[in-house]
């Protein structure tokens, strides 16, 4: 007994592992994991996701200062890369592989094996018939059975003057089933590999400006762990024009109609090999394996700032970020080199400004630039650009800036139309030179995208096979005096289909009508 007692834990541990494996690979567990996967995907559709819209996440954090840290701890701003989401789908994969591998082996064995032997007693099958007939030519009857059973796998055995034919059809069902589940694995592998080697960056380019595909030029950039950031394909883009069209009349007035970015691109330094491009939504520019997409556009007013000493210290286009459907846009102008003190401007751009009341700020009535206007608040002091801390180009660090005021103490706001100049208190001026447009371009490469795509298409093919095809076994036993037919569906079809099948086979096999007795 003592020997058994010491052996028992080791055995039970192995038993336990075996039991665990059976649990994990059981259909019930797979089903529960599948439903769990659906459940854990929900939060990502309700809460903002950092990978989708980082700014929305920031806004959410500000609006819910109590809740946000807890959501952070649970990884709910990164739902689809969170530990628990990954745990569910990895377990599901283990379960899937654990289920599919033995079934593939079993399928291969079954395919190589002969169709199962005929049962001794045909009347036990769900559909069968017995016909007492004179069979002059047994072989001919078997041949007729072969013909009527068509493409089924057929095996014929002869014993004591009785010939038994076994037929199995519809094995493509399990084949399709296996293909579908292997395809699911293929999709996940493809997505994973693609994200390891892929990259995606976004950059704002103003009309007349250039962009070279190097890391430092990007506003934001993300790449997979195995992507070599130094190996970005070399190309350059010159943006000539952004063309944005909006509905001019009718109830949908102001709705976007078409966006396009036009210009030229070249690979390497050879400017003579410039090619022109016309990127529109749904029509990216393809440069080798890299695609350039137009994912946004807006206005970049050009400003010219002169400081108190009469020097032109700034002359450039400044992208303002659109905030609503009428392209009311906000932005900042930073002029650190102004003397004697740095200048900062923060304000808004209205493409079609209209006045709504004497003491109210103007608003934008239409997204196209019909009556452009900028309104700017003015700051003086240290812009903090030398501190080394990274700063957003769309925000002013006001810690060491003083806002300029009117004589009555209200904040000074300069309003400018294109060409207008405003003198600044204490010297200097700012001119709104002209309006340009900017394009927000996304440069990305999704390598191995064919892998998940191809796997999904294969998977649907397998799925259709596994849902449409129904396996069926048919047996025919022929002797000189009796013909018996039986059939069995592994998946029932209902509606008397199996009986019809048995009748059809029997009719074909019987030597000639009229001699039978059932």
């Amino acid at each position: 007994m003592s020997g058994a007692a010491t052996d028992a834990p080791e055995l039970s541990r192995r038993e336990f592992a075996r039991w665990m494996w059976r649990q994990v690979t059981s259909m019930r567990t797979a089903l529960l994991l599948l439903l769990l996967l659906a459940l854990v995907a929900i939060p990502g559709s309700v809460l903002p996701q950092a990978s989708v819209d980082a700014r929305a996440v920031e806004a959410y954090r500000l609006a819910h200062p109590e809740l946000a840290p807890w959501l952070d701890r649970l990884g709910l701003f990164h739902t689809y890369t969170s530990v628990w989401f990954s745990a569910v789908y990895l377990l599901l994969m283990v379960s899937l592989v654990g289920c599919i591998v033995p079934r593939t082996i079993a399928y291969a064995k079954a395919y190589a094996a002969r169709p199962p032997n005929a049962p001794a007693n045909f009347s036990r099958m769900p559909a069968s018939s017995v016909h007492q007939v004179d069979v002059p030519d047994v072989d001919a009857a078997v041949q007729r059975a072969r013909n009527v059973l068509g493409r089924a796998r057929i095996d014929v055995r002869e014993r004591d003057g009785v010939t038994e034919l076994s037929a199995e059809s519809g094995q493509l069902r399990e084949f399709g089933n296996l293909v579908f589940h292997l395809a699911v694995v293929g999709v996940l592998v493809g997505v994973a590999v693609g994200s390891l080697y892929g990259y995606r960056g976004a950059v704002v380019v103003t009309e007349g400006d250039d962009f070279s595909n190097v890391l430092t030029q990007y506003d934001d950039f993300a790449s997979g762990a195995l992507f070599d950031r130094e190996a970005l394909p070399p190309f350059a883009i010159h943006l000539d024009a952004v063309d944005a069209r909006f509905q001019l009349t009718g109830p949908q007035r102001g709705a976007p109609r078409s966006f396009a970015a036009r210009g030229t691109w070249s690979v390497g330094t050879s400017a003579d090999q410039e090619k022109s491009f016309d990127i529109r939504v749904n029509h990216p520019l393809k440069i080798g394996r890299t695609s350039v997409f137009l994912i946004g556009q807006g206005y970049a007013p050009v400003f010219k700032v002169t400081d108190a000493e009469g020097e032109v210290v700034f002359e450039d286009a400044v992208p303002f970020l659109p905030a609503d459907a009428t392209y009311t846009s906000s932005g900042v102008v930073k002029v650190p080199d102004a003397q004697p003190e740095g200048l900062g401007f923060q304000g808004f751009f209205l493409p079609t400004a209209i006045t709504v009341g004497d003491d109210k700020a103007p608003i934008s009535a239409f997204p196209a630039a019909a009556n452009p206007l900028v309104g700017l608040f003015v700051f003086r002091g240290d812009l903090g650009l030398d501190t080394g801390r990274p700063q957003s180009v769309f925000m002013l660090d006001k810690t060491r800036l003083t806002q300029l005021e009117n004589k009555d103490g209200t904040p000074l706001r300069v309003s400018l139309s294109p060409g207008q100049v405003a003198d600044l208190p204490g010297g200097g001026s700012i001119q709104f030179v002209e309006v340009r447009q900017f394009a927000r371009l996304q440069v990305s490469s999704s390598p191995f995208a064919w892998l998940p795509l191809g796997a999904t298409i294969l998977g649907v093919g397998g799925l259709v096979l596994s849902l449409l095809i129904r396996p069926r076994r048919t047996w025919v036993r022929v002797s000189r005096t009796v013909i018996e037919v039986a059939a069995l569906d592994r998946i029932t079809r209902g509606g008397g289909d199996l009986d019809d099948h048995v009748r059809r086979v029997a009719e074909a096999v019987l030597p000639s009508p009229g001699q039978e007795e059932t």
């Binding site: 259909m27 659906a38 709705a255 939504v281 999704s446 799925l463 209902g494």
Partner: protein, 286 residues
Amino acid sequence: MTSEAYAQASTYLIAAATVVLAIAFVAHVAEWALARGADEEPTSASVAAGIGRSVTVLALLILLAGVVTRGLAAGRVPWGNMYEFGCAAVVLMLVAYLVLMRRWGRAIDWTGAAVTGIGTVVLGASMLVYVPAGPLVPALHSYWLVIHVFAAMLAGAAFVIGAIASAAYLLKSRNPAGFSRLPSATRLDEIAFKVNAFAFPIWTFAALISGPIWAQYAWGRYWGWDPKEVWAFITWVVYAGYLHARATAGWKGRAAAILCLVGFATFVFNFIGVNLFVGGLHSYAK
């Protein structure tokens, strides 16, 4: 005809189709009321059923005309926003219902009341999100609009009928002696399975093949967990669960039928909830 005239005609036709379909629904309700309690179906009930079916065909023809004129008014396929999706999806649901009636006859004719009722509600609700006929936002300027959205509508139309069969299964399996108009529980389970087995590969194509391909062109990534994508994925997963459940001991029958209804609910939420309340890149309600 000018596009304004087409738009006007479309609006009238779709409103008329809603009324006619409501009449078909009333006829089918009368059919159920008249057949109530009787073992043999009384003639008055089958007269009502016949009226219901004929009026349904009429409603389909008017609705089809309304959807076609809508397309002519806008100069594109008539499924570019929520209103149009609702109307076109009802066309497909009615076509699916009538095709199945031809194929399966008595096994499916009991769905008349549910199909016409749901159709009326969807058409009525679509009018709440009515937008005038017009061109589309740039992201939708793609032939994938034709393919991707049509596949989603077709799958949705079949999901509706599958859900009706599963709901009827739940009623019938609880009370096999009652609901004499309904086929047997086994048959209902089979109908639900067949319809969903048709819809699932189409949904897979809409959500996981054509959707990602289009997203790659329009947004530069094939999958980005946009709320619409998340819920399309959830619907896919739940229906995959349903197909597995039908072959799993302890899940066959009622649990599988409930999963079918849950799957359908996620589809409906994706259409209504995500469009109107969640937002995201797929915000084409207006």
